[in-house]
Amino acid sequence: MVDSIVEKIVNGDVRTAAKLIGDIDNRVPGTREILKALYKHTGNAYIIGITGAPGAGKSTLVDEMVRDLRLQGKTVGVLAVDPTSPLSGGAILGDRVRMQRHSLDEGVFIRSLATRGQFGGLTQSTRSVIDVFDAMGKDYIIVETVGVGQDEIDIAKSAHTTVIVVVPGMGDHIQAIKAGIFEVGDIFVINKSDRSDANKTLHDFKAMIDITRKRSTNGGWEPPILMAEAVNNKGIVELLIEIEKHRKTRKALSPESIIHNKKAIAQLELIDMMKIRLVEEVLNHITNSLEFKECLDCIVDGTKDPYSACDELLSAKLPDGLQQS
């Protein structure tokens, strides 16, 4: 069963992959076994992260990038992640609207994903979907995320090249500093540079990147700042050239620093994977229990405070060794 699924995916079977991605997202039991078997077929794709505020033009940019990559004969997987509504748990995934021209191209697989995960976990599904695309043999995998939370920054860490998209004005630069994108960005794109205040944004960014550079060294890579107009197909060629340069710079690192980098990423991913499983399993275990529901009722009718409820639930539900920390 696992073997035949893996074989189909490695042969690029779209339906099998699409179904597996759905199962990954729904945390269907048994999916992990497939991912385990699939893992040895990964590691060949080049992963590009595109992140930035909603409306910055990320999907439009991705659409143009895919077009150019296809002209070069490369196959592409696109993973477009949009936020889940915290109120309803639903989401509108609208990125495909900007990528319509690729919908009949067999060399392009586009998949939309909502952030979901009340306990975090965007990183986990996203990471696994990247593995599926990778095993399918895609040359490039482009991951579009809305760059606001820690999760998105973590995604950036597992991309080979992270592109940060900003637009002129709107105080975006302030938001950027808060989210720490200057540390994770390998390339900065000021999109919608048809706007009049684009040059001011360019200046602000240059200053910020200079400050960041003094704090961290990225193997000698100096993040370029590009101007683009995604809707007018301007700046895309330049962006792909910079991505290629960054790829070469990464390759040219000393063997020690390559191993060092690999270890750092493996550590991040492994911790992340364990964190999500732990939190998910423990919380599911607790929140599905009768005691949990009783505690909720008690808090609502005022007979118990949430602090005591928390302590009681954890001491009743966690194994002994985990209780003292």
Partner: protein
């Protein structure tokens, strides 16, 4: 149902029809009901819709139709059959009774007229996906 499971719906306007308001409002309803909506926008051909539905592994397809282009919906149904791909297809819009009947004959699972409530649409989707 594990708490990570969500109903995934593809919403699209088909053919030469620029009326996107209905499709956008329904998308919003479905999101508010906790569903994930893959929104394709306007001017989608049956081929584009089928390809997207396969890649996105959706549970249901919702087609908005306000331009009397039922031939496109028929083509969509035929294409799905040809591709051996079956998920329920529902249509919404001002569709006259005799056309609605013809669409149902073609395999469309349900027609929603413009006055349909959001609850009726949500309830219907939940009922067919649970089946």
């Amino acid at each position: 149902m594990s708490n990570n499971q969500r109903i995934k719906v593809l919403v699209s306007v088909i053919g030469l029809d620029g009326h996107f308001t209905g499709a956008e409002i329904v998308s919003r309803y479905l999101m508010d009901a906790g569903m994930e909506v893959v929104y394709l926008g306007i001017y989608q051909t049956p081929e584009m819709i089928v390809s997207a539905a396969i890649q996105e592994n959706v549970d249901v397809i919702g087609i908005s139709s306000h331009a009397a282009n039922y031939e496109q919906i028929n083509l969509l149904m035929e294409l799905m059959k040809k591709n051996n791909f079956s998920v329920p297809v529902m249509c919404g819009g001002s569709i006259p009774p005799q056309d609605a009947e013809a669409l149902i004959k073609k395999g469309v699972s349900k027609i929603f007229l413009p006055h349909s409530t959001s609850e009726s649409i949500v309830d219907y989707i939940v009922s067919i996906v649970k089946k």
